[in-house]
Point group: C2
Chain length 146, copies 2
DNA sequence: GGCAGGATAGTGTATATACACATGTGCATA
DNA sequence: TATGCACATGTGTATATACACTATCCTGCC
């Protein structure tokens, strides 16, 4: 509506909210020495071990090289096991023993962050937001892959 | 399925979508040599000139120091005029002549990106998404400012 | 066996993001 | 005047993000 109302930048709005939400999660996870990106990485490695870097990146909707850089501090901390891998070729990524422990340690913190967001924004709205975000991503993925 | 269906991480979902959307805008703006962050900066400086760095950062929902770093390439390109400023004190930020020109040059590219997103996701959903994102941010801001 | 081509993996560089820390500046009050 | 607090500004460091480019490796074909 308000055809004069100057359309607003969807990207800017999304980025602004994402910044705030990321800060909340990062602060909640700080006691475990993790960021939400790293926590997500550990959680995905736990749920689907054995993927190659490329496959995992695709799943996370992340550039492959971004995943590599993001993985670095996690691997440096010893939380991953670089499968055997066919030498250089697609090393099957998985959690190490200490990675699993770290994930278990951090999970309550993550749950607290989730709860805090739900409480602040409202469960209904969070659910609606998640659904819309899902649909939007699916639409973008269906679109040209240029 | 799965009785508790494992709640999904709102932060991860948001970040994943934001990455994709940002890529789309950045690619659209590339011919002008701008990122969407820089374009947003120029647009806000155009619409509300004279703010201090802190005030602008608050408005953008961005950490003050992040704004400083983000501003650097924009200022280096000569697109800003650092007001007179009371010496060190809150320099009033504004667009330079070439900054205004750059913004005018980039605007059609931004409009194309907006249109592409609307077309891919659907106008209705984009509107709903913007509304939810707005409400969520307002809720988070109303919340504790710790 | 050797080579061409496609897929996979890694690096260089630049921006985006924020926390911790340091610096500076001006006013109010003792 | 001194001084100390409130607020504004700048830097160091670390992660997050992606594009362009490079390197490596496997496989199919000759």
């Amino acid at each position: 509506m308000s055809r004069s109302g100057k359309p607003r930048c969807t990207c800017f709005l999304l980025r602004r909210l994402t910044r705030k939400v990321t800060q909340a999660y990062d602060q909640a996870l700080a006691p475990a020495g993790l960021t939400i990106t790293q926590y997500s990485l550990l959680a995905h490695l736990h749920r689907m071990p054995g993927l190659s870097a490329s496959a995992l990146a695709a799943h996370l909707g992340m550039d492959r090289t971004t995943l590599l850089r993001t993985l670095k501090p996690v691997a440096d901390a010893g939380w991953t096991r670089s499968g055997d891998g066919a030498r250089g070729r697609s090393a099957n990524l998985a959690l190490s023993r200490s990675g699993t422990a770290k994930l278990r340690q951090a999970r309550p913190l993550w749950e607290r962050a989730q709860a805090a967001i739900e409480s602040a924004i409202g469960s209904r709205r969070v659910a609606a937001l998640q659904a819309l975000v899902d649909e939007s991503l699916a639409a973008l993925r269906g679109q040209a892959h240029r």
